[in-house]
């Protein structure tokens, strides 16, 4: 295995994952299994670590730049972690091929919804919880200007995040669902959704990776170059994301949705 090439692929995955807010697994798992012929369990273990790395780098940058909303992330994580716990349990009990196919269909549908929407509708009032928990309601724009926003439907969003946690543990795809919930339910600006999702994804990925660590699926010869590439790529991606136009970010996100739906569909049909 060419570990230099592996690091370059990981660098691109980290850049893309940080820009879109979904971690690098969407690119990394197919690349490791198809290009480098890595066993799927080793690939999943490496990709989970890459999600933790992307999340950590992004959290550092987006919190410093006041784009991610930490207090909102902490609240929404209550739904995510409980969902992830249930997801682990379900994953030991059922065959998930049907869920993969359903989820692929759901992601495809979401991508069409997002493509049709020229711009997302933003919240027009603040939920009382956001005031009570002193949540931030602004972020820094590309030129450092202050952009105000509001936060809606928090109780419903926490409930929906439960399903994001289930999807994270069961399908490894919780981040995309989290962004959709923040975009469509909480009605945040897309950059805030992607940045806040970035800092949340590491929590579920770290929990999910415990089983892989215990079973010896974390291979040093794979994770070392992958993680170095991911850290460098995430750093560059997080810096680029701050300056990128929102319309372009949404398009890049839709590409991520379609890629992931293809991956999920293929897994569902046993391909």
């Amino acid at each position: 295995m060419d570990s230099g090439l592996l690091m370059l692929v990981a660098l691109f995955a980290g850049f893309y994952g940080a820009v879109v807010g979904v971690g690098g697994a969407t690119i990394l798992i197919p690349a490791l299994t198809l290009l480098f012929k890595v066993d799927i369990r080793y690939a999943i273990a490496a990709s989970l670590l890459s999600v933790v790395a992307t999340s950590s780098v992004s959290a550092s940058h987006f919190l410093k730049k006041e784009i991610a909303n930490l207090r909102l992330a902490v609240l929404l994580e209550t739904g995510t972690v409980v969902g992830a716990l249930l997801g682990f349990y379900i994953s030991t009990r059922i065959h998930s091929s049907t869920l993969f196919i359903l989820f692929a269909g759901f992601l495809l549908l979401s991508s069409f919804v997002m493509l049709r929407a020229k711009s997302a509708s933003l919240a027009t009032s603040n939920h009382p919880w956001s005031v009570r928990l002193a949540m931030s309601t602004y972020y820094q724009g590309p030129q450092g200007e202050r952009v105000d926003y509001m936060i809606e439907s928090l109780p419903f969003a926490v409930m929906m995040m439960f399903f994001s946690g289930v999807a994270a543990a069961l399908l490894g795809a919780g981040a995309i669902l989290a962004i959709l919930i923040m975009d469509l339910v909480v009605k945040l600006p897309f950059k805030v959704s992607a940045a806040t999702s970035s800092i949340m994804t590491g929590v579920a990925a770290a929990a999910a990776s415990a089983a892989f660590v215990v079973h010896g699926d974390v291979r040093p010869e794979i994770v070392a170059p992958v993680t170095i590439g991911i850290i460098a790529g995430s750093y560059l991606g997080a810096r680029a994301m701050v300056k990128m136009p929102v319309a372009l970010l949404r398009k890049v996100f839709v590409v991520a949705l379609i890629l992931l739906s293809i991956r999920m569909g293929a897994r569902g049909f046993g391909l």
Partner: protein, 91 residues
């Protein structure tokens, strides 16, 4: 210093430390030294501990600032997260 700034610093420092472990581990592996695997293992451990430390630090900092509701929420997340680790390891 805000809670957000402190957590940003924690994550940045943690990633640098984990990255250095991985770099030394990778160089060691390429040179065929035994210590390569050990340093990569240290990198994995330090990287996986970061999300846990982030939630733990959130709970401590929110509690210290008298923001009890967010401190309780963070502690709840931490407890469920630890349970997930345990459950994941058992399965």
């Amino acid at each position: 210093m805000t809670v957000e700034a402190r957590i940003s610093w924690l994550m940045k420092s943690g990633v640098v430390i984990a990255g250095l472990f991985f770099l030394v581990g990778w160089i060691g592996q390429l040179q065929g030294y035994q210590y390569g695997g050990l340093f990569s293992g240290l990198g994995v451990a330090s990287l996986l501990s970061l999300p846990l430390l982030r939630v733990l630090l959130s709970a401590v900092l929110f509690f210290g600032r008298g923001e009890r509701e967010l401190a309780i929420v963070s502690t709840f997340v931490l407890v469920v997260l630890l349970a997930s680790f345990g459950f994941g390891a058992l399965t």
